[in-house]
Amino acid sequence: MNKPKKTPVQNPLTVLRVEFDDWAILFDPDSAKTMGINPTGVAVWKLIDGQKEIEDIVKGVKEKFSDVSTSAEKEISDFIDELYRNGFIGYSLNGET
């Protein structure tokens, strides 16, 4: 039996506020929490659609940026966890496969 896969889902309240040079702020108006994110983070955020699993998101980032580091998968996974800890996303469990 495989572990159920986690699919990140945007908190519908979260606002993406693009500021300078594609850097942005994520903002939760209920908690007033904010988080500054770089252009890669913005790309990750936009790929979080409630359908893609983390490996799909990593693939999407690699397609968008040419100079993605070898540690990208872990960095993106850590970033998504940080989004979760701050309440900007949740996870849906896809059930057992």
């Binding site: 606002v15 506020r17 693009v18 500021e19 300078f20 209920d30 904010t34």
Partner: protein
């Protein structure tokens, strides 16, 4: 308006794609007539109120622009019978809000509602004294008791409350009492201070309301002492406390012949046009309430995004930071010039008729020449 060679080749600094904060004068009416009010008696302003639906339509645009906060002021926001409808519009469009109020109309019903929204950063209430005698002297009989009741009502419902103390000729000797009253008795975590400025209704009452040089000296000394007694609990972005701290830094720099401060020597004081914009009660978009005559457009007719990014008048205001102080006769031969930022363009305009001029009201050299001392 003066032309400056420095503006000819200057480039516009980077600006955010949309303002973080939008300040809305949602009410052009007020139940008080404070003697130093900056809002009323401005000939450039049409004191009418937009209907609810026009504000709600505008809030959709603000939400689409990812504006984070709206500040509800005026006039007195709690006079709007549709205040809850307006706040609902703010919430639906994923923003937070604060309210700037005289505090006299706050009741349990509205305080409970505000607390329940979880979107209120704070309600700011103006308190000018520790007793009715001082507070009411500028704000009208009975206003102190009602304002304090308003603060207590907000506290009872766990709504964040901040207090603004505006210093003027009639309360300058009550500062220690105000601090003790607000911080010890009402147990507020913090209060902010400024001083009455030569704007709006204050202009016709200036002689009896504005701080004299002696008053300013008293206020600066007193506030520095109180800041030590209540560390971090008395704040200021303008007025005597701010000046006391900033002028000290300027004097030390001058004595050491230090290089210019990073923003010194130019008209850099006003950062507002880089992060926020305002709307008058009649729907006119303006840079700030202190510059209510500078109309940039009209909500729901002009795109706020377009105004924010491309309005020539607003961009001229942003370019003001390129104007060197040494271009002004007013600043000639001033040793403090490398450390001075020129201060508020709104007060500069009312005093000199020119936005692009240093504000004489906040001039350290002038203060010293008129007998003042740096505390």
């Amino acid at each position: 308006m003066t032309n400056f060679s420095a503006l000819e080749n200057a480039t516009l600094p980077k600006i955010m794609r949309s303002p973080k904060t939008v300040r809305l004068e949602i009410s052009s009416k007020c139940n008080l007539r404070c003697l130093y009010c900056y809002y009323f008696d401005n000939h450039a302003v049409d004191y009418t109120n937009l209907p609810t639906e026009q504000w709600l339509q505008f809030f959709v645009e603000l939400g689409n622009m990812a504006v984070m906060d709206v500040s509800l002021g005026g006039g007195e926001p709690f006079l709007r019978p549709d205040l809850i409808d307006l706040i609902e519009g703010i919430i639906q469009n994923k923003m937070r809000f604060n309210i700037i109020s005289n505090g006299t109309l706050i009741n349990d019903h509205i305080a409970e509602y505000i607390a329940g929204t979880r979107r209120c950063n704070y309600v700011q209430v103006s308190i000018d004294g520790a007793s009715p005698k001082i507070h009411d002297s500028c704000r009208g009989k009975g206003s102190f008791v009602k304002a304090i009741e308003g603060i207590k009502t907000l506290q009872r419902h766990d709504v964040p409350v901040v207090v603004r103390v505006t210093l003027h000729h009639r309360n300058v000797h009550d500062i220690a009492n105000v601090a003790s009253f607000l911080l010890d008795e009402l147990r507020l975590s913090v209060f902010s201070t400024n001083s009455a400025g030569y704007l709006g209704a204050c202009r016709k009452n200036a002689g009896e309301i504005l701080l004299t040089n002696t008053d300013r000296q008293v206020a600066m000394g007193e506030l520095l002492i109180l800041s030590q007694k209540y560390p971090g609990r008395i704040t200021a972005l303008a007025g005597p406390l701010f000046e006391a701290k900033y002028w000290r830094e300027m004097e030390v720099a001058r004595l050491n012949n230090d290089p210019a401060f990073p923003k010194g020597g130019h008209l850099t004081a006003c950062g507002c046009p880089f992060g926020e914009i305002s709307v008058r009660a009649d729907g006119m978009i303006i840079p700030c309430s202190m510059l209510a005559h500078v109309v940039l457009g009209r909500i729901n007719s002009d795109s706020l995004q377009e105004v924010w990014l491309n309005n020539p008048e607003l961009n001229r205001l942003r370019m003001r930071q390129n104007i060197p102080l040494n271009e002004f006769d007013f600043c000639r031969d001033c040793d403090y010039m490398p450390y001075c930022t020129g201060n508020c363009p709104g007060v500069a305009f009312t005093l000199t008729g020119d936005i692009n001029h240093p504000s004489p009201d906040a001039c350290l050299r002038k203060f010293l020449a008129e007998g003042g001392n740096i505390p």
